[in-house]
């Protein structure tokens, strides 16, 4: 089957199987994933040995292009498919791959990722959740935060501290944790929009068999770097797809475009939106031509964060007082900071662009050599 045939078959399958519009219920989501898997569209590039299709980026892009017209009910699987699964493929044992990959691809099990903590956001490696060896198992205590889909997750990819006597990057270990363990408590975390998109997850003497360790003891940071690389790739893929609301179209109906000041603001909105969109398209074309964007994707993410804030800001400022009681605009204002915080703050993005794109010298680091127990971490009065 050549690529055109593949794409045409995907189009047909989607037309027959994908609904348009609202997210489906969780049960429907699992049922849909099973059908997607059976049709061969789950894990398109993943190895056949573990349940994938063993095809190339070309097929994956062809399917994604067709799927763009639909809102597939795959949100709860996005962490597993985007981060946890790829990490297990890269760094897991064969037994782990055998156990976990196929149920993930078939939508039988939901995954979440457990790295961030209240005291370890940008600086994930300073996390404090402890795992202590106890024979063939490990006992975990601590707290994670910003965990998407934890409330429905069956498994979590969990980064813990296993040695406080060594510098922070060298005392971490990665595990797969059973989210149904009685010591795991998931609490929804309400964000500033008033909704709970995230969770806090508490670990209270949670035991994990050593067989569920991913990578070597105290080598968890290198595993986490793999996961975060996959995270960045899946975010920058999302970036390329554009940001939802077409503010210019919406606003041109709502405001007085004969006012030259308003016109100029709308032009600014157009300029910034178009500039970023063209940059994303150029990155995508380069990727297709075999030039990997690397850290330049962080520039796109930074620009998207700024654009998102600007859009909501301009919209409310142009509409005026009525915007304050308009649900859609109010929600946009509340959600606007999310892109500048999630997946790395703007400051972190600027560091990445500065150091990995422009190759500028790093800051002097005080935290890479000190034993963790002597390191300043979190919030200190």
């Amino acid at each position: 089957m050549n690529l055109d045939e593949y794409r045409s078959a995907a189009r047909t399958w989607l037309a027959e199987n994908a609904g348009r519009g609202d997210d489906a219920a969780q049960a429907d989501a699992k049922e849909f994933m099973a059908r997607l898997y059976d049709a061969g569209y789950s894990g398109i590039t993943w190895p056949e040995r573990w349940g994938g299709q063993g095809l190339t980026q070309a097929e994956e892009r062809a399917f994604a292009a067709e799927a763009r017209a639909y809102t597939l009910p795959t949100y709860i699987f996005s962490i597993g498919l985007g981060m946890c699964g790829p990490t297990l493929l890269d760094r897991g044992s064969d037994a782990q791959r055998e156990r976990f990959i196929r149920p993930l691809l078939r939508g039988e099990e939901v995954w979440c990722q457990l790295f961030s903590e209240p005291g370890a956001g940008s600086d994930v490696a300073s996390l404090q959740t402890r795992a202590v060896r106890d024979g063939d198992a490990w006992v975990v205590n601590g707290q994670k935060v910003w965990t998407s889909v934890a409330q429905v997750a069956d498994w979590g990819l969990l980064l813990t501290r296993t040695d406080v006597e060594v510098p922070k990057h060298r005392g971490l270990t990665m595990f797969v944790v059973d989210m149904h363990h009685p010591g795991v408590t998931v609490r929804p975390l309400k964000d500033m929009t008033g909704r709970a998109h995230f969770n806090e997850v508490f670990f209270d003497d949670v035991t994990i068999p050593d067989a569920h360790r991913v990578g070597e003891v105290n080598d968890g940071w290198s595993v986490a770097v793999t996961t975060l690389l996959h995270e960045r790739l899946s975010i920058s893929a999302g970036v390329g797809m554009g940001g939802g609301v077409d503010w210019l179209s919406e606003l041109r109906e709502a405001v007085d475009t004969s006012d030259p000041y308003v016109r100029d603001q709308l032009v600014e909105l157009h300029i910034r939106t178009r500039a970023l969109s063209l940059f994303n398209q150029r990155l995508a074309q380069e990727t297709r031509a075999g030039i990997f964007p690397g850290a330049r994707g962080s520039a796109a993410k930074l620009l998207l964060a700024e654009l998102t804030l600007f859009q909501a800001d301009v919209a409310v400022s142009l509409v005026g007082p009525e915007a304050l009681v308009d649900e859609r605009l109010s929600h946009a204002v509340c959600l606007a900071p999310a892109m500048a915080l999630g997946g790395g703050t703007n400051e972190i993005m600027r560091n990445i662009v500065g150091e990995r794109v422009l190759n500028l010298p790093p800051e002097p680091r005080v935290d890479k050599t000190v034993p963790f127990k002597d390191l300043k971490v979190g919030t200190q009065g």
Binding site: L324, V325, C334, P337
Partner: protein
């Protein structure tokens, strides 16, 4: 020109600040808090002339108080009450002024600029008012609404009893939960005419002072935001260092400080102009909204962003300040209206 506070004003500030430290933006409108604000602190009568039972203070003092209320995000009709008091002092109505000064009546105002969606029948000292106001500040918590009303002889400023049975108040879901708004529908409600036809200059002057009052609140919001994030930058660690030691954070905070310094200078100037140099007031008031409104939102936004993920949570107060700042920025109309006004006053 006086841009620094005198001793008495500093004492007033200290008193109000100490009180505001006991209130929380999370509590919603607390009549008990307002009873103390109006009673022991006497704030409801602050700018009302002594002949009506008030303290006869000026905009400089009101600005000091609003700044502290803004810094605390005091919920309830505090700003609304101040705007109503400003309006009443321009169109002195003994009964209402006295009632407001004594804290017996809480008043709010409908937008004074532009036309009016309300209509009235009669021509005497009372009016039977009908119509709908889509969005009135703190209407749910106020007893009396001051609103322009269209009559067949022109526009009158009318005081409407919001507890009248002909009044329907529909609470709205507003961006800023500490600043309630409601739709007000009047199905033939008796209202007392304060001025008919209203003195255009008086209304204009009240509207101008609204800009100063709001800017004072915004100054408080800015200050509280900067204090909060500076404090956090001194205790939050990332990569083994306090985040305030990184220039990425430090330089942004320095820029925020620069905005605060300028905003305070402008607010003091506008309040001084209101009290001492009326000729300068229109420009000063437009400048106050044009500069402080924007600066306040930028500071509140950056203070939220610099908090990192915690700033995005419901539990943290950062979002309350961010939402208040955005609300205040457009409360008196889209920001461009203040800039246009300034252009007109500069005779550009």
């Amino acid at each position: 020109m006086k841009l620094v506070l005198g001793e008495e004003q500093q004492e007033l500030r200290a008193t109000v600040r100490a009180f505001m430290e006991t209130v929380s933006p999370r509590e919603g409108h607390s009549p008990a808090v307002y009873a103390r604000l109006n009673g022991e602190l006497g704030l409801s009568g602050l700018i009302i002339p002594e002949e009506y039972g008030g303290a006869g203070a000026g905009m400089t003092e009101l600005a000091v108080v609003l700044e502290e209320a803004g810094a605390a995000l005091l919920p309830g009709p505090f700003l609304a009450g101040a705007l109503a008091a400003i309006t009443l002092t321009r169109l002195p109505d003994k009964e209402l002024l006295t009632a407001v000064a004594e804290g017996r009546v809480t008043a709010t105002v409908a937008p004074l600029a532009g036309g009016s969606a309300l209509v009235a029948d009669s021509r005497d000292g009372e009016a039977l008012v009908k119509g709908r106001l889509p969005q009135v500040l703190n209407a749910a918590e106020a007893d009396v609404l001051l609103a322009p009303v269209t009559r067949n002889d022109g526009v009158a400023l009318v005081a409407i009893d919001l507890t009248d049975q002909g009044v329907t108040r529909v609470p709205l879901t507003a961006l800023d939960e500490t600043r309630s708004m409601a739709e007000v529908v009047l199905a033939g409600v008796r209202g007392r005419v304060l001025a008919a036809p209203p003195d255009g200059a008086a209304l204009e002057s009240a509207w101008t002072l609204f800009s100063v009052a709001l800017a004072a609140e915004q100054l408080g919001v800015m200050r509280a935001c900067l204090d909060a994030i500076v404090g956090y930058a001194k205790i939050r660690v990332a990569f083994g260092r306090y985040i305030g030691s990184y220039q990425g954070v430090k330089h942004k905070l320095a820029d925020m400080h620069c905005k605060l310094e300028q905003a305070e200078s402008i607010v003091r100037y506008a309040a001084w102009a209101a009290d001492e140099s009326p000729g300068e007031l229109p420009q000063a008031a437009a400048l106050a909204q044009a500069y402080v409104g924007r600066a306040c939102f930028e500071v509140a936004r950056d203070h939220l962003l610099l908090h990192g993920g915690i700033g995005f949570t419901w539990e943290h107060d950062a979002h309350l300040y961010y939402k208040r700042a955005k609300t205040d920025e457009v409360l008196l109309g889209p920001p461009r209206t203040h800039r246009e006004r300034l252009a007109d006053l500069l005779e550009l």
